[in-house]
Each structure stands twice: as C-alpha cells, then as structure tokens.
C-alpha cells in the first residue's frame, strides 16, 4: 500500500535521513526502530507532508504523494499521530474527535468504534482536551486519527510519557486495530513492544536503514539489541 523509495529529508539544507526505502503492505503492521536522533520522526514528518522531502518518492496505492502538503496527504488516507500529539487543548474531547473526520461530518459508526476501543474517551467526552492525562491524550490522538477512516495509521513513539501499564494497554489497542484490518506503521524506541505487534520492521540508524526483516528475525539479531540500547 505504501511505498517509500530513496527518500531523503532534513532541515535547513542538512539531510537527516537519506536513501530510505520502506514498504507497508495492506493489513500489515510495520515497525521502525531506532534510538533518539536516528531520524524516525523526520521520516514520518516527510511521509505525512509536514516536511518537504529533498529526494525520493512516497506513493500510496499508485498515487504519488511526494511533496503534497500535509492536509492533502491526510485527506488521501494517511493519518499521522505525532509524538507531540497536537491536540486542540481548548476544545472538548468530543470536538477533537469530530474534527478528525474533517472535512466530512463524523459518522456515528466510526465514533462508536473509537469509543469501544477507548471506553475512557466516552466517559470524558465533554472534558477539555488540555486537561486530560498523558495516557488519555494519547488515546484521543489515536482516536482522532481513526475518525477519518484512514488507509494507513502512522504512530510516532506512541508510548512516550506513558506509564508501562498504560503503554501495554495502548499496544493492546493497536493489536485490536490490526485485527480489524488497519494498516499500521509504528516508530518506537521500545523494541519488544513494537516487535510484538508488527510483522516486519526496519532499523533506522543515523538516518539510514541498517536492517530490515520479519519481527522474529530482528528480535534475534544482536545488532538490533545494539540499536535498542543506542550504543555506538
């Protein structure tokens, strides 16, 4: 479904990532692993349109999305949940979800789905998003992304700032989504969690793909353990 080829991107003329080839097939869950500064966020921002790629292509189901602005890529079916979440703090939880479906009006079914997945959101739907806890905000961010019925859901470090138990719940929710047929692309520092949900993974190091393979392969790989610990 998603094909990234030869992608290079960065800031102020400096390349942070280079020569990136990533593929995500429909219904798959793929993980991008790497330590801080490896370039995971830059890669995701480039795919999502928040950052203009310097080289390479991003293709979703035959449609070339390279260099399209973020709102167009969102409407094309890629929903991106960034690490900072970027929720609308002064709006109610429900309003945040409703806006997720922009420009369409939200349909009941999808809203029910999100509430089923995250019952806590249903409880607090009238609460202002800015007053939610870290875990609830993360759930809201994912829920908002789902409201657009995306083809591909990208999550950047979904467990940041979450207590281990909450992180566990979050990944269980992602498992649930995958079972429903959602295609996932997840960037994570916490390798075991990521590999537990994903079928395949790519290891990103210093802006380049160092390794790729099935989760099982990566899990056994000693170099992966090195990347996980971030030791040079």
């Amino acid at each position: 479904m998603l094909e990234v080829s030869g992608l290079a991107a960065g800031y102020l003329g400096e390349r942070v990532i280079e020569g990136i080839d990533v593929e995500v097939r429909t219904g798959e869950a793929v993980a991008i692993i790497g330590s801080n500064g490896a370039g995971k966020t830059t890669l995701f921002r480039a795919i999502a349109g928040l950052l203009q790629p310097m080289e390479g292509r991003v293709v979703l189901d035959e449609k070339d999305l390279t260099r399209r602005p973020a709102h167009r890529i969102s409407r094309a079916g890629i929903a991106y949940v960034p690490a900072e979440r970027h929720l609308f703090p002064a709006m109610t939880l429900k309003s945040n979800l409703v806006l997720g479906a922009y420009p369409r009006r939200p349909d009941r079914e999808t809203l029910e789905l999100v509430y089923d997945l995250f019952p806590r959101l249903h409880e607090r739907q009238r609460q202002q998003a800015g007053t939610l806890s870290g875990g609830e905000q993360q759930m809201l961010a994912v829920g908002r992304a789902l409201m657009a019925r995306p083809r591909l859901l990208m999550l950047d470090e979904p467990t940041t700032g979450l207590a281990p138990k909450i992180a566990q719940i979050a990944f269980e929710a992602l498992e649930g989504l995958k079972k429903e047929g959602m295609t996932l692309l997840i960037a994570e520092q916490q390798v075991p969690l990521a590999l537990s949900v994903a079928e395949r993974g790519y290891v990103l190091e210093n802006g380049r793909i160092r390794l790729s393979g099935t989760s099982a392969e990566l899990d056994q790989n000693p170099e992966v353990r090195r990347a996980y610990l971030g030791v040079a």
């Binding site: 969102s74 929903a79 960034p82 900072e84 970027h86 609308f88 709006m91 806006l99 420009p103």
Partner: protein, 283 residues
C-alpha cells in the same frame, strides 16, 4: 446617567464590531492588520461614490461590503503570502510592517482622490425611547446590526464544521493540518470575512454620524485596543471588550474630558498587555 451608559453600549457595540475583524485575523494567522481602518474607509468611499451615481442605499451598502472584502482578499493573496512563510514573532513583525505600508498606500490614495470624502447614511425616523432615554434611530440600527453580526459569527464558529476548523487552527495549526484542514485556504476566507466586516463597520459607523476619509488611523487604533483587551481570535472577547470600553469611554468623556478618555482607553490596552496579555477571553 442612564443616557450615558446607553450611549456607551451603542458605542461599545460599534467598537466590538470594529475589533472582531482584526482579532480574527490576528488570532488565526498572527497578523496584526494595521491597514484595517483604511479598508473600512475604502468600503465607505465605494458606498459614497456609488450612491452619488444614484444607486439605492441598500445596494450601495452591499457593493461597499463586497469591495472591502475584495481588497482584503487581494491583500491576503499578495502581501500576506511572504508573511505566512515566516513563523512566530518574525511573522507578526513582518505582517505589522507590511500592513502598515499597505495602510499608507490605501489611505494615501483615498485621501488624494477624495480629499473631502465622507459617508453619511441618514436613517430617517423619530428618536426611539429605550428605558426612558431617547436614542437616534441611526445609532439603534447600527447596534442591531452589530448584535446580529455577533450572533451570526458566534453560531458560525461554534457550530459549523468550517467554524470549528478555524478555531482548531488557532489552537494548534499542525494538528489542524493533520486532520485535513488547509490553513492557507482558511486564512484567506477569514481575511475576506474580516474585509466584509470592515465594510459593515463602514455602514454602521456612517449611520451614527459622518465617516470621513481621514478617519482610517483612528479606526485602526480603536480596533487594536479592542483586539488587545478582548483577546486574540475571540469573537465574544472582542464584543465584550468593545462594550466595556464603550461604556468606560462614554462615562469618562461625560464626566472627565475628551483627551483623557482616549488616554484611558489606550491605557486599558497597555494595562492588558502588561497584566493579562491574553486579554479577557483569549487563550
């Protein structure tokens, strides 16, 4: 005393209407449109010229509003493009400077072409008595229009999808882009809306008294004060601040003096910046 307060409310609604256009653009894009007062005057001049050619008042008013909206869109599509490419303080500073330049261009051209230009829409009718105070019909109409505009705007931003989209951009622009909102398009629409509001201000102001061609800077100043006190991007804030300042203005002008009154209003803006920068209802 009742009369003074009522006058203040009428004035305040006019202030609010004046401030709303500027606060929307400032809250949404971070741009302080210092050419706002001149756009109001442009609307007024268009109405004046068209009415001199014999066009009916209502149609002339519509044309004036459209002209003002049109100029606003033109401004957005030309000068504002490089401004939006900047971010944060750089953007506000560049926006402020470029619109200041635009203010001089528009104002200068208008005063050059129509040195004695003034718009006065005479609304005929006997003064109406509100809680025992006789109020001029023109001023009352102006207030009614202002209230109607306020209601429409609040409904629009509170209930419609587009309106919610606008609010979302103000709160988190990146988040808005991620849910599929195009900030550039929304900003142009809002700029056009602020222009239309400027046109409406031209109409309502000229119902209460003649609006002259060199009133531009003064209008911009009051719009700025209301925007600052009311809070960025808040429609309700602009009207609330407007009415408060209007009443203060009226009381002060009646009991103290004209020049001190202006100083007091200016002081209110400065005080807001120093003590509560986000204004009454801003975030």
């Amino acid at each position: 005393m009742k009369a003074v307060v009522l006058d203040g409310i009428v004035l305040g609604l006019a202030f609010g209407l004046l401030g709303v256009g500027m606060t929307l653009v400032y809250g949404l894009g971070g741009v302080l449109n210092l050419a706002y007062g001149q756009i109001v005057i442009l609307g007024a001049i268009v109405v004046m010229v068209v009415m001199e050619d014999g066009v009916a008042t209502f149609l002339a008013a519509v044309l004036g509003v459209l002209a003002a909206a049109g100029v606003a869109v033109l401004l957005d599509l030309t000068l504002m493009r490089p401004v939006y490419r900047q971010h944060g303080e750089e953007r506000t500073l560049l926006g402020l400077l470029l619109t200041l330049g635009a203010a001089f261009v528009i104002g200068g051209l208008l005063t050059w072409r129509y040195p004695a230009g003034a718009l006065y829409i005479n609304v005929s009718g006997e003064p109406v008595s509100i809680i025992g105070v006789p109020m001029a019909v023109g001023s009352l109409w102006a207030s009614v229009i202002a209230l109607a505009v306020a209601a429409v705007l609040l409904l629009f931003f509170g209930l419609t999808t587009f309106g919610r989209g606008v609010r979302s951009i103000i709160q988190d622009e990146t988040g808005a882009r991620l849910v599929g909102i195009n900030p550039a398009f929304v900003r142009t629409v809002i700029f056009a809306l602020s222009g239309a509001l400027a046109g409406i201000v031209a109409i309502t102001q000229s119902m209460s008294g003649p609006l002259t061609v060199n009133a531009g800077f003064e209008l911009t100043t009051f719009a700025l004060i209301v925007t600052v006190v009311g809070g960025l991007g808040s429609v309700a804030g602009a009207f609330l601040a407007g009415v408060l300042l209007g009443v203060v203005n009226s009381l002060s002008a009646h009991y103290i003096g004209q020049y001190i009154t202006t100083i007091i209003l200016l002081g209110a803006a400065a005080l807001t910046i120093l003590i509560r920068p986000r204004g009454l209802l801003g975030r």
